[in-house]
């Protein structure tokens, strides 16, 4: 598989491309959001292991999500989505027949429809209710634009196929930040350097699983060889769909998607946008080979492509 693959897009084995002879199987995360209980053990376990700074006491009002999103100091983030939509297998029991969502929104006690994935009141059938939870993380893309644009070699591909920032090398140039199609990697204000999930590279090197996966009480976060995870994930989707949960789908699992598939992929219960994921992420350096032939133009083009993609990732909903 790896020998025929392209280095920058399409199906590929990243570790082999990274120059590792006989690398171990590619390792990754499968986050099955259908069993996530939103406990945030992953967030805390990640911070404890990696000694990430606490980053502020902010009561957001976005359901029980007070971490807001991934960033330099949040490498696992649990999103909470309250919506007027049913889960096929659930009777939520709530009774909200008389709620005028628009009136509430104008009063300040409802969610404007355009922000409806959060809380507190969203358009939809009254009496329907679902509370989705999902733990987000760096996707460890097969084709990682952050890595492609890193001028110092701080970002590198590990033998496990993961993408890691090397703090002893990062000079804080920040090129990687807009390159990420998911808006994951971020600069820490205190030291200017870029930080993100390492998929616990140190633990992997020692034969241990990442801290978040180990802590996860319900095994919503599963760690293992990507091949095995993908197979297991497909089985889980089939099971859910059969049980009537027709919205169940995988996200980031497809090696043919715009980033060549993610090393960390997800089982979602609805469209990716519901969870704040870009629907069609594309590696922002897709055109890099062409650029290299014309290096002078590359920097400008790259920056523009990256910026556009980032904007798409942050605010992207299907047109």
């Amino acid at each position: 598989m790896a020998t025929n693959s392209h280095a920058l897009y399409g199906e590929a084995d990243p570790a082999t491309l990274g120059g590792y002879d006989e690398p171990p199987p590619r390792m990754g995360f499968f986050t099955d959001t259908s069993v996530c209980i939103g406990c945030k053990a992953c967030e805390v376990a990640c911070k404890e292991w990696n000694a990430i700074p606490e980053d502020g006491l902010v009561f957001t009002g976005m359901s029980y999500d007070n971490s807001e999103g991934l960033g330099a100091d949040t490498w696992r983030h649990v999103a909470f989505i309250e919506q007027r939509k049913p889960l096929a297998m659930q009777d939520p029991g709530v009774q909200h027949e008389d709620v005028d969502v628009l009136a509430l929104a104008s009063q300040g006690s409802g969610t404007p429809p355009e922000q409806a994935r959060i809380t507190p009141t969203t358009p939809g059938e009254p009496g329907q209710m679902r509370w989705l939870m999902a733990s987000d993380v760096c996707k460890h893309c097969t084709h990682a634009a952050c890595l492609d644009v890193c001028p110092t070699g701080s970002l590198f591909r590990t033998e496990f196929g993961t993408v890691v920032v090397q703090e002893d090398i990062c000079n804080g140039c920040g090129y990687c930040i807009p390159a990420c199609p998911y808006g994951v990697i971020d600069q820490r204000q205190e030291d200017g350097r870029a930080w993100k999930c390492t998929l616990c590279y140190d633990r992997l090197s020692g034969g241990m699983e990442p801290a978040c996966a180990k802590a996860c009480p319900t095994d919503s976060i599963q760690f293992g060889p990507l091949d095995e995870l993908r197979e297991r994930a497909r089985g889980r989707v089939d099971q859910l769909v059969e049980a009537g949960e027709t919205g169940a789908r995988l996200y980031g699992e497809d090696p043919h998607d715009g980033v060549g598939g993610d090393g960390a992929f997800f089982l979602l219960m609805d469209e990716p946008e519901v969870y704040g994921f870009p629907p069609d992420p594309v590696v922002t350096t897709r055109d890099l080979p062409a650029m290299w032939r014309c290096v002078g133009a590359a920097a400008l083009t790259l920056a523009a492509t990256a910026a556009a993609s980032f904007a798409g990732a942050m605010f992207g909903r299907r047109p």
Binding site: V44, Y64, Q90, G93, S109, W131
Partner: protein
């Protein structure tokens, strides 16, 4: 469960993956509801009605497990003619004295006999069983039935056809007849369709092949009728045959690492180790009188003397001899309830002058936190042992009353000592988890600075006191001077060896060797045992609680991990997992069974039963204790060996659960004229005013139902979470949850501030408007809940007002636990006033509601 016991919830998710149905009954849509098949919101305070409705459904539609019911429960037992039900007396039982607010339980007894309770208020029978002066004793009415007591099986009248009009089954049927789906809808706000679906799911998943489990937490205990909540589930599960079987039970998910251990080896006023009751004060009481009054004739509580003498030997060693009555008189006596809430009153009255707080933060965590602080402000001295400076350590300089001007620091005479505590990683010791499993935690490092374990503190405090009192000839000092208090210590700080304390808890025989089982305990002083139910935890001198055989190397019961009391049995009363003949009810639900060839019980678990007692064993006439249990008596601690649907003794507030409204409720009791539990415990005080309820004028001043709860990200009163940045950032400040309907009604703005007011206090919180909070229709009226987590206080990294500044001291009369899960309140937009205006606002509400010292104190 997902909210407060996330790691335990993995097993629920596993069951769900195998096809189990998960029903979540909770007023709020929580993280547990998010993963449930059905979420059933119901009004807080209405669970007895809800479960009562299911019980009625089971009885009316004959959905009970008849063979189990007839053989293993007291359903066939005939009651006395004197018993009158709530059906006869409009919501109260026979025996109520409204003046003293006490029930005389005598009319609740079985016909022709009198049984003692296995737990609860056993002292109630004292005067029946022990009369006259020491040495001249006769049991009460029981004496008429045979030698030394009443609990002779032959005297119990059973009707196995279940048709006798006074048999428990028929009494139950009549008692619950009015708990119809229509009424349940009106009381609980649960649509009939949902209610019936729950009934159907539960009953179809119970029986020979299937079992259902009930899981509860303090959402059930923290009520003025909390014990009867649990009783409701016990009745239902007994009817369905779901007790003593795998996948069954009524499971308390307890919220603290060793809260189970804290009742087993109780730091509770009413208990001695192993649920032996603390003696109440009686004329000329000695050990014999105590045992006569408290022990049963049948079952393992008949051996109470052996447990008690072994305990007295553990405490007073060589001073405890038959000649000294084993130092029974060294025990202080009770004169009623001395719970932590009476202690507050006692502090305010100036009687209690010295107070130890060991890892507890009542200034935030106990009901009516203001009363707690005012009590502490009236002490001579206070010792606080904790990790950080909690609100209970600093109220004298920065508590809410300092801000309102109700207290002035310079006027507070309380001397305060703060002693830093050691963490679990800094000491050896055992926790008992929620399934009675003792697990040892080993010391990893030495505590830094002045931090010390509570073991160190208690041991060295005792050592110093004994040293200072040495040589005293004052009789009241004898119990201290005679105390066995010579534990070996280790290391530079002289930490007592925790394992030596465990060895004493386990006990030893005359030869000094560790005991292996409580059946070895003797009443003659030849055995020593600090807690009889823990006997065996140090078998062979090996710390069984420290056993850690990996889970993958043993069966699903995992009996080689830690040690569960009693005798390492994992499922209590598991004789009931087999049918009367001793065969598993079904292969699918096999746990233990009678192996006729080997003539013993065997199986996956350790039998909670005499291993060699055949199902065909019938006790000889006059048999006592364990011998009196027949081969059909799985409930070996009960005086009749049966599961009690009807409780003839041990409860203060009735033999059957009955729906009463909470102390403060905007709703009238639809079922009876009797609004509240007539014998609930209340503590009227100017700072503990109650609110009008139901149709009383003034109820509308506090129109909303108020409830409290925990969040995954925090722990209890916050001492172990609010100081931690990693937890604080996840839930950074106090908030309250309301529905959009209530938000509209009260002009509450999402993310804005709200002030919540009760007759006790006013607090402010940020608003989370969410459809997870649902309005309910109660008796035709739209009813709203306000939900507030109780973790916060003014100290620490994440701060906020305290929920318990709103709650009142109103208690369950059995457990003396506070009602903080169901109250009523008002909510208004904006922040609360500061300074004296805060107290003024509360007072203004009280006046508007016409609250006096009598409000809410009616029987």
């Amino acid at each position: 469960m997902a909210e407060c016991h996330p790691v335990g919830f993995q097993w629920v998710m596993e069951a769900k993956a195998r096809g189990a149905t998960l029903i979540h009954v909770d007023p709020r849509f929580t993280r547990t509801s998010a993963l449930a098949d059905i979420h059933v919101p119901l009004r807080v305070g209405s669970d007895i009605a809800f479960i009562g409705g299911i019980i009625n459904h089971v009885l009316q539609n004959e959905k009970y497990f008849r063979e189990y019911l007839v053989t293993y429960t007291n359903a066939p037992t005939v009651l006395t003619e004197d018993y009158a039900d709530t059906e006869d007396l409009d919501g109260v039982f026979s025996g109520l004295d409204p003046e003293s607010r006490i029930y005389d339980f005598h009319t609740w007894q079985y016909e022709g006999t009198e049984v003692q309770a296995a737990s609860g208020k056993r002292d109630k029978e004292y005067s029946d069983r022990v009369q006259g002066s020491s040495g001249v004793r006769q049991a009460g009415r029981g004496e008429a039935h045979g030698s030394g007591g009443a609990e002779v099986t032959a005297q119990i009248t059973n009707d196995e056809t279940l048709e006798h009009p006074r048999c428990v089954f028929q009494v139950l049927k009549r008692h619950y007849a009015r708990y119809t789906p229509e009424v349940i809808e009106e009381i609980c706000g649960v649509p009939q369709e949902t209610f019936l679906r729950v009934c159907e799911l539960l009953t179809s998943n119970s029986g020979r092949d299937r079992t259902s489990a009930f899981v509860y937490s303090v959402g059930w205990t923290q009520h003025t009728v909390g014990v009867q909540y649990i009783r409701s589930a016990a009745i239902l599960q007994s009817l369905l045959g779901n007790i003593g079987r795998p996948g069954g039970g009524v499971l308390a998910l307890r919220g603290h690492a060793s809260i189970q251990g804290s009742t087993d080896i109780p730091t509770l006023f009413n208990l001695l180790p192993g649920y032996i009751p603390m003696p109440h004060a009686h004329s000329n009481e000695d050990l014999d009188a105590f045992i006569t009054a408290e022990a049963t004739r049948k079952g393992y509580w008949a051996e109470m003397r052996a447990y008690m003498v072994s305990l007295l030997k553990a405490w007073w060693g060589s001073a405890a001899t038959p000649e000294t009555d084993f130092c029974f008189d060294y025990l202080p006596r009770l004169t009623g309830s001395h719970s932590t809430y009476e202690t507050v009153q006692s502090q305010l009255d100036g009687e209690c002058k010295g107070y130890f707080l060991m890892g507890e933060n009542p200034a935030v965590g106990s009901a009516n936190a203001k009363m707690q602080r005012l009590g502490m402000a009236n002490l001579d001295w206070l010792v606080v042992r904790d990790f950080s400076l909690t609100e209970s350590a600093t109220w004298w300089k920065d508590g809410p009353e300092i801000a309102t001007g109700e207290l002035h620091t310079e006027d507070i005479g309380t001397e305060v000592f703060f002693l830093p505590a050691a963490a679990h990683t800094e000491k050896d010791g055992s926790f008992t988890n929620t399934q009675r499993l003792l697990q040892w935690h080993h010391q990893a490092v030495e505590p830094a600075g002045d931090a010390r374990s509570d073991l160190w503190f208690t041991y060295h405090l005792g050592r110093r006191i004994r040293h200072k009192l040495a040589g005293s000839i004052d009789e009241r000092d004898f119990p201290i001077l005679d105390l066995t208090w010579d534990y070996p210590t280790k290391g530079e700080i002289d930490e007592p060896e925790a394992e030596s304390v465990l060895a004493e808890i386990n006990g030893w025989g005359a030869d000094g060797n560790p005991l292996t089982n409580y059946e070895q305990l003797n009443a003659d002083g030849s055995t020593v045992c600090g807690c009889w139910i823990y006997c065996g935890v140090y078998t062979d001198g090996v710390n069984q609680a420290a056993r850690r055989k990996p889970q993958v190397q043993q069966n699903w019961v995992a009996t080689e991990w830690g040690w569960a009391w009693p005798a390492n049995r994992r499922i209590l009363y598991n004789r009931a997992s087999a049918d009367p003949e001793g065969n598993p009810w079904s292969e699918r639900k096999a746990l233990i069974w009678w192996d006729a060839e080997k003539a013993q019980w065997s199986g996956h678990d350790i039998p909670d039963y005499d291993k060699s007692k055949s199902p065909h064993y019938r006790p000889p006439d006059g048999a006592q204790g364990a011998e009196a249990l027949s081969g059909l008596d799985p409930f070996i601690m009960q005086a009749d060996g049966k599961a009690w649907l009807f409780v003839p003794a041990g409860l203060t507030d009735g033999p059957l659960p009955t729906h009463y409204e909470p102390q403060d409720s905007p709703v009238s009791n639809l079922l009876y004229t009797q609004q509240r539990n007539p014998v609930r415990q209340i503590q009227p005080h100017p700072n503990n005013r109650y609110q009008p309820s139901g149709e009383d004028p003034g109820t509308e001043v506090y129109p909303y139902v108020l409830t409290s709860y925990r969040l995954t990200e925090h722990h209890t009163a916050g001492g172990m979470s609010r100081w931690l940045p990693y937890l604080s950032e996840l839930q950074p400040e106090l908030f309250c949850e309301v529905s959009p309907e209530l938000a509209a009604e009260r002009n509450l703005e999402h993310l804005g501030w709200a002030t919540v007011v009760t007759a006790r206090g006013a607090i402010e919180a940020r608003l989370l408007v969410t459809e997870r909070m649902t309005p309910m229709t109660i008796q035709g009226r739209r009813t709203h809940h306000v939900g507030i987590p109780y973790h916060w206080g003014p100290n620490g990294y994440s701060t906020g007002d305290s929920f318990n500044d709103l709650s009142s001291i109103s208690l369950d009369p059995n457990s003396h636990i506070q009602e903080v899960k169901a109250l009523s309140c008002d909510i208004r937009p904006g922040r609360r006033p500061v300074g004296a205006d805060r107290a003024r606002l509360v007072h203004e509400y009280q006046q508007r509601a016409g609250i006096t010292e009598r409000t809410g104190t009616e029987v």
